[in-house]
Symmetry: C2
Subunit: 319 residues, 2 copies
C-alpha cells in the first residue's frame, strides 16, 4: 500500500476511505503503522471509548447498534470496532453477524469496522487500540468496541476503552458461572440484556449477591441496568448513565488514571509481542525444545538458555 504525505491528514479529516486503509495498516502491523500513529497522536484523546463485552449470544451487536443509533440521533458521530477472536490454528476469523449493522453503516456519521488479526491475542488487542486511536483522531465523538468476552484474554481488549459494559442475558448461564469466568470484574457497568426473558429478575438478584460478596470494600459494585436491545427498551437510560459516569470520571481524575493504566498495559503487551517476534526468528529455540523433549535439558535450564538467546538478540538490536 502506498501512503502519500497527505494520508494522515485525510485520516484526521475523517475521510472514510483513508480511515479504512489506515485501520487495515494497523491490523496488518504494516511498516507504515508507526509513522501513521505518530502523525495522528496529537489528535487522540477526545472520543469517549466504550467497550461492550460479554459471552456469545447475549445480544451485544444489537445493543451496540441501538447505542450507535441513539448517539447519532443526538448528533454525535460514532466509530464501531467489532473484535473477532483470532483462531490460533487456521489464522482465520468467521465473519460476524454484522448484517443488521449495514443500514447504520450507510450513515456518513458512523464508521463500522470488524477486526480480524492473525497471530497472537496480543496482536488483536494492539490492533484494536490502534483502530480506536485512529477513529478518535478522525473526529468520532464516541467509539464503541464490541468483543466476545468470557476469559482473561478478552480483558486485554478492555485496555482499548475508557469504560467497559459487560453484557449478560438470562440465557447465558447463571450468574455464578459468569462470575467464575472473571468477566464481571472487568465491568464498569453491567447490562442484563434480553431482560424480558424469564429469569432476568432472579439473575439481577443473584448478581447483586455475588458482587456484594466478591468485590473488595474499596471498590464499589458496578451499577446494573436491564435492557431489551431488540426493542430499544432501557437503552436510552443505559446510555445516559454511561455518559454520566464518563463525565464524572473525566472531572474526577479517574479517566486520566484509567487511560494511563491502559497505556501501561498497551506498552507492556507491545513489548512482549516484540520479544515473541524476536524469539520466533530464533531457530536455536527449536534445538532447546528438542533437548528438553529428549530429557537432555531440564525445563528451568532451557528457560535460561532461551533468555540468553534473547539477550544476544537485544544486544544485536542496540549495537
Amino acid at each position: 500500500m502506498v501512503i502519500g504525505p497527505s494520508f494522515a491528514d485525510e485520516v484526521l479529516s475523517g475521510d472514510r476511505r483513508a480511515l479504512a486503509r489506515a485501520i487495515t495498516l494497523v491490523e496488518e502491523a504494516a511498516p507504515e503503522r508507526e509513522a501513521l500513529l505518530a502523525a495522528v497522536a496529537s489528535r487522540v484523546g477526545r472520543a469517549r471509548r466504550f467497550g461492550v463485552t460479554g459471552p456469545p449470544g447475549v445480544g451485544k451487536s444489537t445493543l451496540v447498534g441501538e447505542l450507535a443509533t441513539l448517539l447519532r440521533k443526538a448528533g454525535r458521530t460514532v466509530g464501531v470496532v467489532g473484535v473477532d477472536p483470532t483462531s490460533p490454528y487456521t489464522g482465520g476469523a468467521l465473519l460476524g453477524d454484522r448484517i443488521r449493522m449495514e443500514r447504520l453503516g450507510l450513515d456518513a456519521g458512523v464508521f463500522i469496522r470488524s477486526m480480524a488479526t492473525r497471530g497472537t491475542l496480543g496482536g488483536l488487542s494492539r490492533a484494536t487500540c490502534d483502530a480506536c486511536d485512529l477513529l478518535d483522531a478522525s473526529g468520532k465523538d464516541a467509539v464503541l468496541v464490541e468483543s466476545v468476552g468470557v476469559g482473561q484474554s478478552e480483558v486485554e481488549v478492555t485496555h482499548a476503552v475508557d469504560l467497559t459494559l459487560v453484557v449478560i442475558s438470562p440465557e447465558s448461564g447463571d450468574s455464578v458461572q459468569a462470575m467464575k469466568a472473571g468477566l464481571l470484574e472487568a465491568a464498569d457497568v453491567i447490562v442484563i440484556n434480553k431482560a424480558d426473558r424469564p429469569g432476568a429478575e432472579r439473575m439481577e438478584a443473584d448478581l447483586r449477591d455475588v458482587l456484594a460478596l466478591s468485590r473488595p470494600a474499596t471498590r464499589p459494585a458496578p451499577p446494573l441496568y436491564r435492557t431489551v436491545a431488540a426493542t430499544g427498551q432501557g437503552v436510552p437510560e443505559l446510555l445516559a448513565a454511561v455518559d454520566a459516569k464518563w463525565e464524572e470520571w473525566s472531572s474526577g481524575g479517574q479517566l486520566a488514571e484509567r487511560r494511563r493504566s491502559n497505556l501501561a498495559s498497551r506498552l507492556r503487551s507491545t513489548v512482549v509481542a516484540e520479544v515473541e517476534r524476536m524469539l520466533d526468528e530464533e531457530a536455536a529455540e527449536g534445538k532447546v525444545v528438542a533437548a528438553v523433549h529428549d530429557g537432555r535439558t531440564a525445563l528451568a535450564e532451557a528457560v535460561e538458555e532461551v533468555l540468553l538467546l534473547l539477550k544476544k538478540k537485544l544486544e544485536d538490536r542496540f549495537c
Copy 2:
C-alpha cells in the same frame, strides 16, 4: 514450607499429602518448584492426559466425574485438575462447584485438585502443566484437566494435555457462536453434552456444517459424540473413543509430536512470564509510561526504551 530430601520420593510413591503439598508449591511458584520438577522429571510421560474444556454451564464437571468413575471401574487411577480462571483484579478465584466430586475424591485411586493461581494467565497455564507432571509422575494412569474455555486464553491450558475434548451443550448458544470464539479449533474430540435437551440434533448438524467449511482440507474434522453426563449416557462410548485415539496417536507418532509442540508452548510461555517478571521489577518502565501519557514520547519509541531496560536486566543476570 520445609521440604525434606525424601519429599520427591513421597510424591513419586503417590502419597496424597505430599502430592497436595507439591501442587501447592508449583501453584505458588515457590523457590523449591524447579528442584521438585527436576527430581520427578524422569518419571513424567506415562499418564494419558485429557483436557475437558467448554463454556460455563455445559456440564464439564459432571462429565469429568463420569469419566473418572468409569476409569476407576476399569482399575485405572485418576488425577483431576480443575482450572479456575484467575481474576485479574482481586487475585481471587471462586470455589467451583466441586461438591459432587467429593464422594469420588474419597477413593484413594483418585486425586482431585482445583487450581487457582494469582497473576497472569500464563502462570495458570504453567501451574496446570506442572500439576499434570506431578500427577503423572505420582503414577496416575489418567489425568483429566477441566477448564472453562471460550477464548484463546483457554487454548493455552490445552498445552497441558495430550488430547482435548471440547464440550458444548444445546443450551450454550448456537454452534456458530461457539465457532466464532475459536473454541472448536482446539478440539480433538467434540462432545455435545445434555444431548437429551431440545436442539441437540440440530446443533450436531450445524456443527458438522461449520466444521466442514472451516477446517483446512489437511486437518480432518474432529469426531463428535453426544452424551448425557448426568445419567452417564454415551460416556462409556466417549471414553472408549478417546482411549482409542490416544493409542492410535501413541503408535503413529502424533502423540510425540503433540507433546513436543506442547513443550515448545510451555517453554515459550515460561520465558515470556520471566521477561514480564523482570519488567515488573523495573521501576523505570513507569517513567516511560508517564512520558507517553504526557505526549513526550511516542509509543514506538517507548517500546525501544523498555527493550533497552530489558537488555540491561538480562546483561546483569548473565554477568
